[in-house]
């Protein structure tokens, strides 16, 4: 059980670091600047 939790945690962290939702949010806002709220 512990093994799975650790595995999930490390995979999750790796994906989080590389996909980086926090720092990519401004990028998203930047490229969708000319769209209105609904289209976003």
């Amino acid at each position: 059980m512990d093994h799975w939790v650790v595995q999930f945690g490390s995979v999750f962290m790796a994906f989080f670091a590389i996909m980086n939702p926090v720092a990519n949010t401004p990028v998203f806002l930047g490229v969708t600047r000319e769209l209105d709220e609904a289209e976003r």
Partner: protein
């Protein structure tokens, strides 16, 4: 737009998670080789983030941006889905964590990816107020922290790759 890009990124990476083994066999490459190459890629992405630059594999040129803006559907596919969300680093990470392991671990990787995609979607939708709340400097700090973690993950992948290769050639 947010939904399209996140969904597309999920689809692409999921294909690599599920089909990773088949891709390895098709090209006759081994997991250690992929881990070493992928590790170097991930390290480079992290290294550039750490120095406060945008990584070139992660960030399309302004020219690319302009071209994709012309197409209505464009920005959701590129640059958002590829390469920002599902870049070479993401694919390398996904494959090295899932290929050559059991079905359960593959499922676990998929689950982690799904969770990240959901979080990314939430961030994108709440983007405007979130960036205001965090401020530009805090975002830069997060970006650099992630860069450090990425560089370490990349190095770890290279270590796993080298030790796997050594074990492979020592036993044969």
């Amino acid at each position: 737009m947010a939904a399209t890009s996140v969904f597309l990124a999920f689809g692409i990476v999921a294909v690599f998670i599920i089909g990773g083994r088949a891709i390895f066999e098709l090209f006759g490459i081994t997991l250690p080789a992929f881990r070493i190459a992928g590790g170097i890629l991930v390290f480079l992405v992290g290294f550039h983030l750490l120095q406060g630059q945008e990584s070139s594999v992660h960030t399309p040129t302004t020219e690319d941006n302009e071209r994709s803006r012309d197409a209505a559907f464009g920005v959701a596919v590129s640059p958002l889905a590829i390469p920002i969300l599902a870049g070479p680093g993401t694919i390398a990470t996904a494959m090295s964590y899932s290929a050559g392991t059991s079905l359960a671990e593959m499922g676990l990787t998929l689950l982690a990816l799904l969770a990240i995609c959901a979080i990314t979607y939430a961030f994108f939708v709440a983007g405007e107020s979130f960036t205001k709340f965090m401020g530009q400097n805090a975002l830069k700090v997060v970006s650099r922290l992630m860069g450090l973690i990425l560089a370490v993950i990349g190095t770890q992948m290279v270590i796993a790759g080298v030790s796997g290769a050594v074990r492979h050639y020592a036993s044969s």
